[in-house]
């Protein structure tokens, strides 16, 4: 068995998450860090490492931190999980004892920048939003990539738009009872999904998440240090990675998120199999991502995810309750911090709604853009374990 990360997450901080909050991203980050410190029962001066999700420099002065190191990490939605791994590495190599992993964005307050040939933003647009030559053919943004995967799934396995819609309904049902979620008290039906307009066929409006503003932070520390803190610690039992570029070379890119490879390492480190996982928080900005990952991680067989969801297996009481806070589709979009934060709450037994009784293990995934071709994304997995 490969060595496990052997660290704990001792603090979780979430700012308000929502659209058009009118709060700057650095202030969202500050609120998240302060909330995480309070949650951990950790003094500000004890933070000796900072890993920020994104490509900006970290504003340590504004945050009032004096760490030994600080850097930014950009692998799209895989970044938060990778940040926890980086923190574990810094702790293992004796560079830090308490590392803050943070995020904060104000997407819905920022100007839209999708127009080509319209001035200075072009360079950034083309590379980060439309990813290169596919733009010449009209392909823009991540939705179309997931649409290609959804169509491939339909062609291979007979998956239908209704199968996708049931994922949206399940996540909305979780959000309806979660105060603060985008879908709070706003239920949807499968008919609502079917009647929502087509965005990138076969994905409809209700197959897609919406950007929200918000900040999030976690504090990673050694198990020994965690035992001395007042906060509720969560163990990182296993971690894994796999890049989707592998699928471009072998032709499987639109058939999976390559999470099976990531799962082998994460589950191996944790000494668990899929059937040992009590609850799953999957990075899924579009419905098809849930279906592909249920298969990749082995919660159901290849091509069986549609029926698996239809059978209620991702609901509370099912085989693997999934995205229990409403996920990114109906909860909030804080990149990979959406699944990570809900995973921490679940294994602490502190989910504000839809707590899985006795949740002792949680799978958290992240996936996102860094390199390769359009859609060949980084994937990363964590197995979280309760210390209660």
């Amino acid at each position: 068995m490969t060595p496990s990360p052997d660290v704990a997450i001792v603090g979780l901080g979430l700012s308000e998450q929502g659209r058009h909050l009118g709060v700057s991203r650095r202030e969202l980050r500050r609120r998240a860090v302060d909330a995480a410190l309070a949650d951990a029962g950790l003094e500000r001066a004890a933070v000796d490492g900072v890993v920020m999700v994104g490509s900006e420099a970290v504003d340590l002065r504004y945050l009032g931190l004096a760490p030994g190191f600080a850097y930014s990490l950009q692998a799209g939605g895989a970044s938060p999980v990778l940040a926890v791994m980086a923190a574990a590495g810094a702790i293992a190599t004796g560079q830090a004892e308490a590392v803050v992993c943070l995020y904060g964005e104000a997407w819905t307050s920022a100007p839209r920048q999708l127009e080509p040939n319209s001035g200075p933003p072009v360079e950034m647009d083309i590379k980060s939003v439309s990813y290169g030559y596919p733009f010449l053919f009209g392909m823009v943004g991540p939705g179309s990539v997931y649409a290609l995967a959804a169509r491939r799934h339909m062609e291979l396995y007979g998956t239908t738009s209704q199968d996708l819609g049931r994922v949206a309904v399940v996540e909305r049902d979780y959000a309806v009872v979660r105060p603060g979620a985008q879908g709070y008290k706003q239920p949807i039906t499968l008919d609502d999904h079917q009647n929502s307009r087509m965005i990138v066929d076969p994905l409809r409006l209700l197959d897609c998440s919406r950007p929200t503003d918000g900040g999030a932070a976690v504090i990673v520390t050694s198990l020994a240090r965690a035992a001395d803190l007042s906060g509720s610690a969560v163990r990182v039992l296993g971690a894994g990675t796999a890049h989707g570029i592998e699928g471009w070379w072998d032709g499987s890119m639109f058939e999976s998120m390559n999470a099976a490879r990531s799962a082998r390492r994460a589950f191996g480190q944790a000494g668990v199999s899929a059937s040992d996982i009590d609850v799953a928080q999957l990075y899924a900005p579009f419905t098809i991502a849930v279906l592909m990952q249920l298969e990749d991680y082995g919660f159901c067989g290849r091509g069986e995810s549609g029926a698996f969801v239809a059978d209620g297996q991702t609901r509370l009481g099912g085989t693997i309750p999934t995205n229990t806070g409403g996920g990114q589709l109906s909860g909030f979009y804080a990149t990979g911090f959406t699944p990570l934060s809900e995973g921490i709450l679940q294994v602490r037994g502190q989910a504000p709604s839809s707590q899985v009784p006795g949740a002792g293990t949680c799978l958290v995934s992240g996936s996102g853009g860094n390199g390769g071709v359009q859609g060949s994304w980084a994937h990363a997995s964590l197995v979280l374990g309760a210390t209660r």
Binding site: L114, E115, P116, N117, S118, V122, I126, S130, G132, Y133, P134, F135, L136, F137, G138, M139, V140, G141, G143, S144, A147, L148, A149, A150, R151, R152, E155, L156, R197, M198, I199, V200, D201, P202, L203, W248, W249, G251, M253, F254, Q374
Partner: protein
């Protein structure tokens, strides 16, 4: 379509290594970037995952392909794309590489994974774009 705002290859990836490909498209010829050691073909230009860049060169492709997957873009993301919802596809060339393209001359409802396709060149814009249509006509 408003050609004035449609991006050109140089806007997308400012990389001269692909220029022979676009020059060939203007002559209605499809090229792939082939590894002389193992025969793996790529588009766009890049390193062979086995042998690196040393023996890569542009060679003519047959222009035959099979449909891998596709999407119909209904959302208007950009002023650049104001025409009828476009079919963006990933096709597998006979030479083995996947490429992004458009599918022409076929109703979306008639598309099927694996269907044989033949290359053509869309010259309605400022650039000859390699696109695909059902082999042997729609």
């Amino acid at each position: 379509m408003n050609d004035s705002v449609r991006p050109l290859p140089g806007d997308v990836v400012p990389d001269a290594i692909d220029q022979p490909f676009w020059d060939a498209c203007a002559r209605r010829q499809l090229l792939v970037y082939r590894c002389g050691r193992c025969g793996r073909c790529l588009w766009p230009a890049g390193s062979c995952p086995t042998d690196g860049m040393a023996d890569m060169s542009w060679v003519p492709a047959t222009g035959n392909a099979r449909l891998h997957t596709w999407t119909v873009i209904h959302q208007q993301y950009s002023r650049s794309f104001t025409d009828t919802p476009v079919v963006v596809a990933v096709v597998e060339l006979e030479e083995g590489t996947l490429i992004h393209t458009n599918i022409k001359d076929c109703a979306p409802a008639d598309l099927r994974a694996g269907m044989p396709l033949r290359v053509g060149f869309d010259t309605t814009g400022p650039l000859a774009l390699p696109v695909f249509a059902p082999a042997g006509g729609a």
